[in-house]
Homo-oligomer: 193 residues x 4
């Protein structure tokens, strides 16, 4: 049952999410590059900066922040050999039939609709950009959850752009006509849902 | 509220599912070829026949049968211009942001685990084999739902094979050692869940 | 493959969604009452009007609009006996193991996070307010999809309020301090994602 | 990338799953009682023993085992205050908007179809039997993930029984006519999918 007395403020959760990604070597620009590569062919006037702002907006969602915090925690615990057997081995070896890494990533990608889900599946197999780097990094790092989380953030940000593109088309303009900031979080950053 | 008096027998639903796929030009071999292409690199001794049986087994699941019947019904109604506006236009034009086609396909693919979901996303973008043919068929056919349904059946059958492969490895054998029929429905074909 | 030449404008889709719900006897106030009943105990100062605006906002989402249009179309076709066998009987009898009705509703509820999903499951079993009325309506109406769609819109609107409540708590205010319109769609109603 | 050299055998994963549930005070009979309470009204001749076997079968699924292992690991780490801030506080306080607990449970419940999903949502709110006990246990235990996992196993086992019931009806028999073992795992317990 929920104990309100030790509740954490949203801003703290948001800050911890960004810090966790950076600590694991992932910048929002890394993720934005994947988004740009996927959406550029379909969206006139789209710039990398638009994609960065879309990634920032995705990272404001509670559902996404919680997924990132749990996934990275498990990767880091596995890296320090602090999980119990056999979970330690399963996560450490990036067991192909594990599935909980995809499930946690899917939980947040679902909130961006079914197109985000198929894009996530595509990225999960194709592993472009930073995702490939994370998946093949030699040696000590465990990125079992991280590569799926990055794919999910990229898929969500791409889906937002595809939906926004349609609005622009209906208004008779393109991404060239709008400021990148318009795709980012609003001034007063309420958590999005 | 459910009215038991007009209940349909499982066998009739199973038969209608197979008939609907054939009527739309999709054989179980077409689907099995996609499965084989995806799983062959990872599974020693796997044959097309193993894949056909896995597809047959997937087609025994109620969740899959119902998805196929609803999706093909909507495609056929759209083809005959029998849907009301604006749904008729949305389905007829295979509107990229529609999403209900992916949602219905996802509903059945979910029952094969998160690996099936990412495989589905991959197929939905890559469109190999019969999926490509369905998506680009010129002229009169509406296959808005059908291509997603085929991707979902193929992804599910592939996921079954990946899981079965692991069992075989643990027993020290490969697909070369087992009869294709072993991957298919049991003699007395209860609906699977 | 998508044919852009017959694309439908967002406003038309939004209008058709509202019209379809009204035609089937469901007002946004009916749905808001379910939301109010569920969220009132936890949210100081919440009024029915806040809930109406939250429902309106949910109804601006493409994913939701498409689900409503497809579900109601299938209900109405079944009512007019225009579906082919055995789908006609399955939908007409509100077959308990059918599942595609829940799947389509889930597709849109997912976009509001996992709390919306569990709330949807709860409503699907408890059937409060208009949902009960739809499920037990005697005679000619087929509401196999509609009751699930209403549960999904209510669950989504309730989830939005629960998330917004947290923001308010963190700002030291309650729903009594904010205008109901704040929960509704923005002036220029871009489609939400 | 997957490292095959440290792969864990299925039997070990299955054993660890059962041990983890028992260590946290949950027996398969506890879960079976929830299943029985939900399914008894609709299924003539159903006994608690049938439900126990259905729970055992659900616990053979890899997807379920992995979810249980991850969820209980996080509960136990939180109990020992071994998670990093702010995740430690979020999980320890059973934060209502957290969502990853439901997401992980949903991942395995999905594999039993959309009816299992709505049943899960219902149990998540109603909290009957052992679920209530886990949710309100005073003092030192953290069961943030465990109550959702138990709800997901119960919902899955109940869904299996509902589907099996239909098969029995079509054969003209009831649960009174079949051995409880028939609902359990097969002699040679391959992992199910």
């Amino acid at each position: 049952m929920h104990d309100k007395s030790i509740r954490v403020h949203s801003d703290e959760v948001a800050k911890a999410t960004k810090a966790a990604l950076l600590r694991r070597g992932v910048t929002k620009e890394d993720i934005a590059e994947i988004v740009y590569e996927m959406q550029n062919p379909y969206n006139d006037g789209l710039t990398l900066e638009h994609c960065v702002h879309s990634v920032e907006r995705v990272l404001r969602k509670r559902e996404v922040q919680h997924a990132v915090l749990v996934g990275i925690e498990l990767d880091e615990l596995a890296e320090k050999k602090l999980l119990s057997a056999p979970l330690q081995q399963i996560i450490e070896s990036d067991e192909g039939l594990f599935g909980v890494d995809e499930t946690i990533a899917l939980g947040s990608v679902f909130t961006y609709g079914s197109i985000a889900v198929t894009t996530f599946g595509h990225l999960d197999k194709q592993k472009i950009g930073i995702i490939k780097k994370l998946d093949t990094e030699p040696g000590l790092h465990v990125n079992t959850f991280l590569d799926d989380l990055v794919a999910s953030i990229a898929a969500s940000a791409a889906s937002r752009i595809a939906h926004r593109m349609r609005d622009l088309e209906e208004e008779g303009v393109t991404f060239a006509d709008i400021e990148p900031e318009e795709l980012g979080p609003k001034q007063k950053p309420h958590n999005e849902i």
